[in-house]
Symmetry: C2
Subunit: 383 residues, 2 copies
């Protein structure tokens, strides 16, 4: 049921003809209230797309009534015209719903540097509004897919309240944040501050820890909408915990569907002098092409891990580094440890643990291997 | 003639049996003087190999009489034993030459995390010393190859003096510096200070601007040895210019032979507020897997350039960025420019120019595309 699981939401996904091939490419999610609380987190890329500029402004007052999302074009690097296109999209939906256009967020995903076909897109908005329903979440989740091979959705059911979510993202997955569009709905009663606090805390330890290919998108958007329709009031901690569960679930789905990947890699950096050190080391490893190729080749190449750790500013002594692959400590004290032939990297899930022996902090980062298929998809994507 | 082009140098390359397959794998370069001036630049990776630790110390007094280099093993992450192996290698050569062991540098390249086979290695040092000759430079250049498909050498002939050089490196090519071993010889008369100043200046604009795969090695070493045998004294500026030419030549050869690459990409970032900005932007683009895959696919994907520029801290206005591929300005003012179909990316050499319109500084960075063959080589290298 995804975004239509919580009470107070309707959604639709339609084929507007934005994307070639006639698939679903336009989604609308509407919050019917009674509340209209919202929060959002956006890409930190300084080259951000028109819909990001639009939605960030729309969200400034912590209120959203609806979101319109399209695949088939990112509307990024499209100048003033692109910004006008996002405004016109919001305006079109607002008019049909009878709400203010600055209460409508816009999300776009697809190729950078091309204008959106506005006539079919606006016609599609009309079709979507006609089709809005409390069972429309599944179509909406399908309509935002690009190179995703499957829709990503998650649901959390609390005691009389729930969270529903949909996500898209299969490439340009990098921290702060994985290239993604995510819409999360809830019928819990939240203040704007609670929504904001919870969303930032949840994304920090989930989407912001994914680094599939080190490339940060122009369009990343995560929106949280609360209808308050359950009437259930929650403390921030309880809601944040549930929201984090949903975000981690979606994050795992994004990683599992990352372009051309054959391994999901979980990198735990422990024994760090501080959180920042642990994160820096984890992200550096997650971005090492040599390391990622080694995993593709089922090779527990700890030398490539150490050589990457050595490029960071983290506190550590090279002679005290331990590295384990799937539980086998192949590097101990910065030198040869257990026999590397004891490591089995054939399963899709790979666990790498690096112990810096410099303190008590730790952090987890997730990434994928680098494969022929990643290169293929990204060499051919726009041609 | 490579390192034996200048007067006062002998070299040899032999098959010591370190590498499987029986190829050349051990090289010795000897400076017969009269001078024994030397300078070196080493990896800035904090996890550095035993030979780097050894050679850095050996060079502390600005004097070297000989260098011994091996392929077939990096002697990195090998602990105290590895350091003892490097010392024993230097000691072995020093004994045969009748020089002090701290006047012998050691360079190793190959897999990280495995001990070197010391018995055949030391025997090979003996064979190499017996074979030392003024025409041994070519064999020495072959003996240091790993995944290189061809030896890399360069010669500069001045008026009565010369520079000769050999290099190896085909992967882990990253700034500060491309994973490489380089030995440069000259018969020009230099002070230790001149040698040091010239080497740092030349590497800064050549090897330190190569970024093939963003991965920094544990073993990078560039050595400059001066015999002074020509009797020609030079001012630092003249020598630096010649040395820079040699380093740029070697750099282009390294890039041209980078693992699995099909395009050599030159990225010029201009209009920068400062050199640091220009370099940060250039390096970020050079490390974008999505950009590098696009070039492999002959796709002038300027959106991936802009989204990368947006992740940097450089001074720029997103609406003023220009991007050209091979002379065609496909992005103008942060938006769609010339027709991308006008760009022909089929030749191996690709020029990308990014104008930040924020100042007058510029910098050049070189990289490769990301290909199936890069993944293949690096997935299979150690297994």
């Amino acid at each position: 049921m995804t975004v239509t699981e919580p009470k107070g939401f309707r959604a639709a996904g339609v084929a507007a003809g934005i994307k070639g091939g006639g698939g679903l490419d336009l989604a609308v999610v509407v919050n019917d209230g009674p509340a209209d609380v919202a929060a959002g987190v956006f890409t930190s890329n300084r080259v951000c797309a028109a819909p990001v500029i639009w939605s960030r402004e729309a969200l400034a007052d912590g209120v959203l009534r609806a979101v319109v999302l399209n695949s088939g074009g990112a509307n990024a690097c499209t100048g003033e015209e692109g910004l006008a296109d996002s405004a016109a999209t919001a305006d079109g939906l607002a008019g049909l719903l009878g709400v203010a256009c600055h209460d409508v967020a816009v999300c776009s995903t697809g190729l950078i540097g091309e204008r959106l076909p506005m006539a079919p897109l606006l016609a599609g908005v009309g079709t979507a509004v006609e089709g809005l329903s409390v069972s429309g979440g599944a179509d909406a989740a399908r309509a935002i897919m690009t190179t995703d091979t499957r829709p990503k959705t998650a649901v959390f059911n609390g005691n009389g309240w729930s969270i529903g979510a949909m996500a898209k993202g299969a490439g340009m997955l990098a921290p702060a944040m994985a290239t993604m569009l995510v819409v999360i709905t809830t019928d819990a009663v939240l203040t704007a501050e609670q929504a904001n606090t919870a969303l930032r805390a949840a994304t920090e330890v989930s989407f912001n820890r994914l680094d599939s290919d080190g490339c940060q998108s122009t369009n990343d958007t995560v929106l949280l909408l609360s209808s308050g329709a359950s009437g259930v009031e929650l403390d921030t901690r309880t809601f944040t915990a549930a929201l984090t569960t949903v975000c981690l679930d979606l994050g795992a789905q994004l990683l599992g569907d990352a372009e051309g990947s054959s391994h999901d890699i979980e990198i735990l950096v422990k024994g760090a002098a501080g959180q920042a050190d642990a994160l820096e080391v984890g992200r550096a490893i997650a971005r090492s092409n040599l390391f990622k190729c080694a995993i593709f080749g089922n090779d527990p190449n700890w030398g490539r891990v150490l050589s990457t750790v050595g490029t960071t500013k983290a506190v550590f002594d090279p002679d005290e580094l331990d590295v384990s692959f799937n539980g086998v400590m192949v590097c101990r004290g910065g030198a040869i440890g257990e026999d590397r032939s004891l490591v089995d990297l054939s399963p899709r899930r790979v666990s790498v643990v690096v112990d810096l022996h410099a303190g008590r902090e730790q952090a987890m980062v997730w990434t994928n291997d680098l494969t022929y298929d990643y290169v293929k998809e990204n060499a051919e994507y726009s041609t």
